[in-house]
């Protein structure tokens, strides 16, 4: 039946996990029950810790990264487009919060500011202040538009060129962010605050939720959780849809896909814009959570960080990508700086491990791609594509124009 090299044929542990996964895959009720149990645990989790504890803080960050990774998963995992400039959408989402939920544009409306559905805290400040939900919506719209503008000319290129062009766009966005202080928008307003950063950013003020503050991280946690649930829902729905099938088709054989009536650029664009939208949501959330939008956040390495989450977890596998995002997020904010930081000095070596975190992620990428390209929790199709070379890379340039 399966031509795929059985995942777990090598040792008993892997065999058992494989059997369990098969069981979950074949039994939908079991899958739902498991998902429900996990959800309940995740909801209860912050109550087991102090509301301002570092652990809850790490969890909020991890959840935001899950949103980002699942957004990128639509582009890389589903549509098979390697986007090396995903950080651009993080940046645009974050600047949406910077522009529309802070005192940054202090002189608008004669210094009185513009306030739409804001709570009492933000309502008294100058600048533009939108309700947090509105900020998220604006972030989705702006990033999706940016995604379309970037994608429209570039998505007809061959895959590796797409990767480099997206990288170039990501770098352009970063350079604009860094130099945005010298781009004047009339009056004293500038586009960005460069490396100084736009700060503070409004914390959300939502009815029915307790105050979002650094002292109580639970509202942040639950907001991030809701965003995760949305992106998970969208991922599942897209995967099993007309669009999802078209993405698989494009990924495996562009020529056949086009000949079957799948419009290549439009279909890729939908993946790209959707992925961009979630990058924007996560960006706006993180800007508000971190209370700053700083141009230094938008380095190329961040794009690779998110990509590494997908590769580690299992490219195209929704659960895998979530696991990958959570693992790498904790590696980045907790394991390397808090736990392993003194390992080199104990070994008599003189270097700071945090400096090397991106080398570690790079190493991870190489190791994973060479030894287990399908990731920790593989997606069945992707596994076959990656390990057995199903599908073609043959590029017929003229198809795409």
């Amino acid at each position: 039946m399966a031509t795929a090299r059985p995942v777990g044929a090598r040792n008993p542990v892997a065999e058992t996990t494989h059997a369990i996964r098969e069981r979950i895959r074949s039994d939908r009720r079991l899958a739902w029950a498991l998902a429900l149990v996990v959800l309940v645990l995740v909801i209860l989790l912050p109550y087991a810790f102090d509301p301002a504890s570092p652990f809850v803080d790490h969890c909020v960050t991890a959840l935001a990264y899950v949103v980002m990774a699942l957004g990128l998963n639509i582009v890389v995992g589903f549509a098979g487009l390697l986007d090396l400039g995903y950080v651009a959408f993080f940046a645009i989402g974050a600047y949406t919060a910077g522009w529309f939920a802070s005192a940054f544009f202090a002189t608008v409306n004669g210094g009185k500011g513009i306030h739409i559905l804001t709570g009492t805290l933000a309502g008294a400040q100058p600048g533009i202040h939108l309700n947090f939900i509105l900020v998220l919506i604006v972030a989705v719209i702006l990033t999706a538009i940016a995604g379309i503008l970037i994608g429209l000319p570039t998505l007809r290129l061959r895959g590796d060129y797409i990767a480099i062009v997206t990288l170039a766009f990501g770098e352009i966005v970063r350079v604009v962010a860094v130099n945005g202080q010298s781009i004047h928008l009339g009056g004293t307003n500038t586009l960005t605050a460069g490396r100084q950063g736009i700060t503070p950013i409004d914390s959300p003020e939502l009815p029915g939720m307790s105050a979002f503050s650094p002292l109580d991280l639970r509202p942040w946690y639950f907001t991030a959780l809701v965003l995760v649930l949305i992106v998970v829902f969208v991922n599942f729905r897209l995967r099993d849809s007309r669009l999802g099938r078209a993405w698989i088709a494009i990924r495996e054989d562009e020529i056949a896909a086009a000949s079957m009536g799948v419009p290549l650029v439009k279909t890729k664009l939908m993946a790209y814009a959707t992925g961009a939208g979630f990058g924007g949501i996560a960006g706006a959330f993180l800007a508000s959570y971190l209370n700053t939008v700083n141009a230094d956040q938008f380095e190329f390495s961040f794009s690779i960080f998110v990509l590494a989450m997908i590769i580690l977890g299992g490219i195209g596998n929704i659960v895998g990508v979530m696991v990958g995002a959570i693992v790498l997020s904790f590696v980045n904010v907790w394991l390397i700086p808090d736990v392993l930081h003194d390992v080199p000095s104990k070994l008599g070596l003189n270097f700071d491990l945090t400096e090397l975190s991106f080398g570690i992620f790079g190493f991870l990428l190489v190791i994973m791609m060479v030894l287990r390209p399908e990731g920790l929790i593989p997606e069945r199709r992707r596994q076959i594509e990656l390990t057995e070379g199903v599908g073609t890379d043959e590029a017929l340039f003229e198809v795409r124009s």
């Binding site: 090396l84 061959r158 590796d160 060129y161 352009i172 090397l356 080398g359």
Partner: protein, 356 residues
């Protein structure tokens, strides 16, 4: 479906459209490339009544571009043969600079070394740097790309990015996180001669004097030698080459070796030219050189040289005149995007059946 009058208007509109598209296709890139030098040339003529400044920029561009050309050759050869963007190539170039500096420090070249000593020492350094970068590139190919030759094309690109990060961190631990000044062994900014008010410095002469023979040698090698012919055959059709008895694996490794050798030479020139080295220098250099390779027409050595010189000029003008260099990266990347979108086959590239 259409009214009677419509076809005429449509035909007219489409013929004007095609004419414009044809024109832009042929000359658009050239116009875009000439825009900056021509604009600033006129600017100089009007404001300073002399073209010295723009010529100075272009001269810097050519010598700087010689470095990018050497790096770009590595991209273009490798892409030509395995259709892989060797993303770690910029870091191989960076390693070339780092090795150069440590070699010349080790053999004791300093500012007080005599001219003959410097020349001899640097020739030794050049060899070591080239060998180091070349072997590094072959190592990367063996470890990170070869196992993935049958995987989807994006897989080796991901390992390439991974390797690039690893090497950056190697560089970071080697000479630290900030720019490191190195001995100005050749007195880089001293004039060699002046022509029409344009100062030709030692650095300029060095860049051109090292690059030119290397490129000529390489061009000769590719067209005349057995291995060069094997490389071209493999680039055309690996399967056919294999059937003809060409050892494809060796040929691919040789390609990476040659690309690495060139990057190593570029690394030495860069260190002497800029008198600073930095673990992050490879990232931007890599992207600039890749832009140059695509601009010239990927797979084409002379294209890489042409692209390198052009992008060098653009970069110099941007560095010198636009926001003190803060916008240079964005401008170069904007050119990269423009070229990829409007003329992916580059200046010298031809539309082919496979690559379009």
């Amino acid at each position: 479906m259409e009214a009677a009058a419509l076809p005429v208007r449509r035909a007219l509109r489409s013929s004007v459209g095609t004419a414009i598209r044809k024109f832009l296709n042929r000359y658009g890139l050239i116009i875009a490339l000439l825009a900056l030098p021509v604009y600033f040339g006129i600017h100089d003529l009007v404001n300073q009544h002399s073209l010295t400044h723009i010529f100075e920029n272009l001269k810097d561009g050519v010598s700087n571009g010689a470095i990018w050309a050497l790096v770009a050759i590595g991209y273009t050869l490798v892409y030509g043969i395995v259709e892989l963007i060797n993303f770690a190539h910029g870091e191989v170039f960076m390693i070339g600079s780092f090795v150069s500096f440590s070699v010349w420090s080790t053999i004791g070249l300093t500012l007080t070394t005599g001219a003959l000593g410097v020349v001899f020492g640097l020739i030794v350094t050049l060899f070591v740097a080239m060998i180091a970068s070349g072997s590094m590139n072959v190592l990367i190919e063996r470890v990170a790309y070869k196992p993935l030759r049958n995987a989807p094309k994006l897989a080796p690109l991901i390992t390439a990015v991974g390797f690039s990060f690893i090497l950056q961190n190697v560089g970071l631990e080697w000479y630290g996180g900030s720019q490191k000044g190195v001995d100005d062994l050749i007195r880089a900014q001293t004039d060699f001669f002046t022509i029409g008010g344009v100062h030709i410095t030692h650095a300029d002469v060095l860049a051109v004097a090292v690059t030119t023979p290397l490129v000529l040698l390489l061009a000769w090698f590719i067209t005349k030698s057995r291995l060069g012919k094997a490389m071209r055959a493999t680039a055309q059709d690996p399967e056919a080459a294999r059937l003809m008895g060409i050892n494809v694996d060796t040929t691919i490794s040789a390609t990476f070796l040659i690309g690495g050798l060139m990057a190593g030479a570029a690394g030495l020139i860069y260190a002497l030219y800029q008198t600073t080295i930095w673990f992050f220098q490879g990232f931007q250099a890599g992207l600039i050189a890749f832009t140059a390779a695509v601009m010239g027409g990927i797979g084409n050595i002379w294209g890489a040289v042409l692209g390198g010189v052009i992008i060098g000029c653009i970069q110099q003008i941007a560095d010198d005149r636009m926001g003190g260099g803060t916008w240079t990266a964005a401008i170069v990347f904007a050119y990269l995007v423009l070229i990829m979108v409007f003329r992916p086959q580059g200046l010298l590239g031809e539309e082919t059946r496979e690559a379009g």
